[in-house]
Amino acid sequence: MKSVLIVDDAAFMRMAIKKILEKNGYEIVGEAENGEEGVKKYNELRPDIVTLDITMPEMDGLTALKAIKTIDKNAKVIIVSAMGQEAFVRDAIMRGAQSFIVKPFTEEHVLKVLSSV
C-alpha cells in the first residue's frame, strides 16, 4: 500500500483527494495545511507520494517542493493545480515534480496520475 501525504490549504480539497485515494487502496499518512507544515511532515513521515497544492499561505507549493526535494531528491511529488497555473506547473516539473493533477479533478484523473508515479 502506497503512503500519501496531502498538502493543501483547503480542507475541502484534502477531503476530496483523501476520499478518492482511501477508497482505492492508498494510505493517507498525513495532511498538511501549508507548505511549511508539508515539508515538516514529509520529513517525519517520508510518504511514498506527496500531493502538493500550489497556492498556499505561509509557504507556497513551489517553495515546499524545493524543500522536499532537498530532503529527498527522489521524493515523488504530484502538483495539484488549477487552470491558469500552467507556468507554476512547468516550474514545478523543472524542479522535479513527477506529475500534476488539474482541479477540478475526477476520481479517474487522480488515480491515473497517482498510479503513474
Binding site: 490549504d9 483547503a10 480542507a11 475541502f12 480539497m13 477531503m15 476530496a16 476520499k19 495545511e33 507544515e37 497556492t55 498556499m56 499561505p57 493545480s81 488549477a82 487552470m83 491558469g84 497555473q85 500552467e86 507556468a87 507554476f88 506547473v89 512547468r90 516550474d91 516539473i93 523543472m94 506529475s99 500534476f100 488539474v102 482541479k103 477540478p104 479533478f105 475526477t106 476520481e107 484523473h109 491515473k112 496520475v113 503513474s116
Partner: protein
Amino acid sequence: MSKLTRDPMLEMFIFETAQLLEQLEQIIINSEKTKSYSDQNINEIFRIMHTIKGSSAMMLYDDISILAHSIEDLFYFIRERRPLSMDFSELTDLILDGADFIKTELSKIEADGKAGGKPDELIESIKKFLLTLKDKNLIEDEICITKEKPVPKKEQRYYIGSDDLSGIPVKKTLKATIYFEEGCRMENVRAFSIIHNFKGIASDISYYPSDIIENDETEEIIRKEGFCVYLKTEYSLDTIREILMQTVFLRHLELEEVDQVDEVIQRQRSKEIILEDPLPATIEAKMVERVQSIEAQTHSLNQSIISVNVSRLDKLMDLVGEMVIAEAMVVQNPDLKELELDNFEKAARQLNKITGEIQDIVMAIRMVPLSGTFHKMHRIVRDMSKRLKKDVNLDIIGEEIEVDKNIIEHISDPLMHLMRNTLDHGIETTEERLAKGKTPTGTIVLEAKNVGSDVLIIIKDDGKGLDKEKILKKARENGLLYKSEEDMTDKEIYNLIFLPGFSTKDSVTEYSGRGVGMDVVTRNIETIGGTVSVDSVLDKGTMVTLKIPLTLAIIDGMNIKVGKSCYTIPTISIKESFRPLEKDIIIEPNGNEMIMVRGQCYPILRLHKLYGVNTETTEFMDGIFVMVEQDEKALCIFADELVGQQQVVVKLLPNYITNFKKINGLAGCTLLGDGSISLILDIAGLTNV
C-alpha cells in the same frame, strides 16, 4: 464527480467556504480602516478566491467558481502590477458584493443543495473594473488575463530553434507524435513535461507546437493535432517508446525514425499565422461564451433570502425602541392619571401587543448564529498552535445558537483573547503533556448553550489549569486581595485573574500578555451586560464561562424611585422585593448594614448614599428593598418606592458623561413614559463593589 457530492463533502465545502468568506471580510474590514490593501492582504484575497474557485468547481457550482475566478484574476493583476491609481472603495464594494453573493448562494445550498443566483452582472462589473484599471495604469498592451508568470528566457533551453537544426551529426533522428486523452487538460504542460523528461536522454530536441511554454493556447492544438517531437538520441527506438509510453493520459503514440526535421519548420510557419489570434480576446470570448451557456442552464430559483445592510437594521431597531418609548408615553401619560378610560385601556392593550410583536420580529431579524465568530477561532488555534509548537484540537459545540448582531461584535475580541490565553498559558507543549501522561494533542472545547434569556459561552481546555498559589502571590503583590485569603473559595481566587492589573505570565509572549490582562475580557463582556467566571483544576484544565444576554437593546426593567431620581433594575436580576421588618436589620459596629432574609444575611445598598441623591426616605421602614442577584452574589437595594415594570430601551450613557467620569454600577439610561430619564443599574457592577 457526482460521487463526490455526498454530504460530508458538501458540508466541508459550505463550512470552509463560509470560513474563507469570513476571513475575506475580516481582511476587507481591516483594510478599510487603512484605506489600502497591503501586499499580504492582496495575496490572501487572491488565495481565498483561488480556493473557492477550486472547491466550487469540484462541487459543480460553476457560477460561484466563475465569480471567484474573476475576482482572482483581478487580484492577480493587482498583485503583479501594483496599479497606482485604483478606486479603493469601488474595489471594496465589488469584493464585498462578490462575498455576499457567494454567501447567499451558500445559504441556498445549505437549504436545498442548489445554488441559483446569477453573478453575471457582478462578473461584468469586475471585468470592467479590471479593464479600467489596466487602461488607467497604461501597462503595455499585453493584457495578462491568464496567470502566466513571464517565463525567463533560460527556461526555454530545451527549445532549439529551427536554425540550429541544420548540420546535425550522427545519432538517429526520431519523430514522436503524442496524443493525449480527452479532458486531461493542460496538454501543453504535459508536453513540456515530456520534453523535460528527455533531458539527458536525447539531444537537439525540437517540437511542434514550439511555443508550448509561452502560449497556453497551444493546448488546443495539441488536443487536436497531437504533440510532435523530433529528437536525436543514441537510445533505441524501443527505449524511447518505453519512456513515452509512461506518459500519463497517453491516448496514442506514433514513433518513427526520420531523416530530417524540415517538415517541422514548415508546419511551424503555417501555424504561426493561425496562432496570431490575440490571446486576451480569445479568453475573453471563451469566458463570455461560458457565462452565456451557464446563464442558459441556470434555472430561475426563487430567492428566499435577501441581504440587508446592517445599518438599516440598526435604524429599524432604534425606531422600534423609540416606538416602545412613545407607546409608554401615551399609555402612561400623566394627563390620563386618575381617569376612567375603558376604551382607551383596551386600545392601549392592543397597541402594546402589536409593538411587542414587532419588537420580537425585529429582534429575530438581528439574530445571527455564533458560528462565524466561533470559526474565526479555528484560525487562531491553527496559527498559534503551529507557532507555539503545540498540538491543539478545537472542538466547537452549539455554533448554531443565535445572539444579537451587536453582541456578536462585542464577544469576538474577548473570545479571541481568551482563546489566545488558553493556547499560550493553558495548553502544555506536547512533551509536557506526554510527561504528565496526557494525550499529546491538547483539546479546547468552545461551546455555546442557551440558558434562559442568556447564552453561555464556555471555553474549556485540558491544559495545566490555574495555579492557586501563583495567583494569590500575584494578587498579594499587586494589592488585589479584597478579603482575607483564608475566606476565599477556590473559585474566588481563580476569578482574581479578571481584575485589572493582573497577569501571571512573567514574560510577555507574542500572543497574549502584551500588558493587556484578562480584565479587558471582563470589561468587554460587561459592557454588553454579561459576566465572566473561571473555574479550574490544576493539571486537568480550565473552564472560562461567559454569560451574555441574548440581546441588549430592549430589556424588561423594574423602575424604582429614590428622591426625585428614577432607576431601572433589569427584571432578570431581581429575586424579590419586600418591606423589611425592624428586627431583621443588622448594623455592624463599623456601620455596615445587613439584612436577614430567611436566615441568610445580605448587605444593604442605599442607592441614595451611593449616588448622593437627596431623599426624605432614609429609614428602612419607610422604603422598600429589592433583592438582586448576579453570579451568585446577592444584595438588597434600598429605594424609596417601586414605580412599576416596563420594557425599556437601553441607551448607552452619553460620552460626555463617561469621558468625564466612570460611574460604577450604571449600565446605561433609558427614557420613561413621562419623558423623564431613568438610569439603568448594572447589577454585576453593584454586587462586585
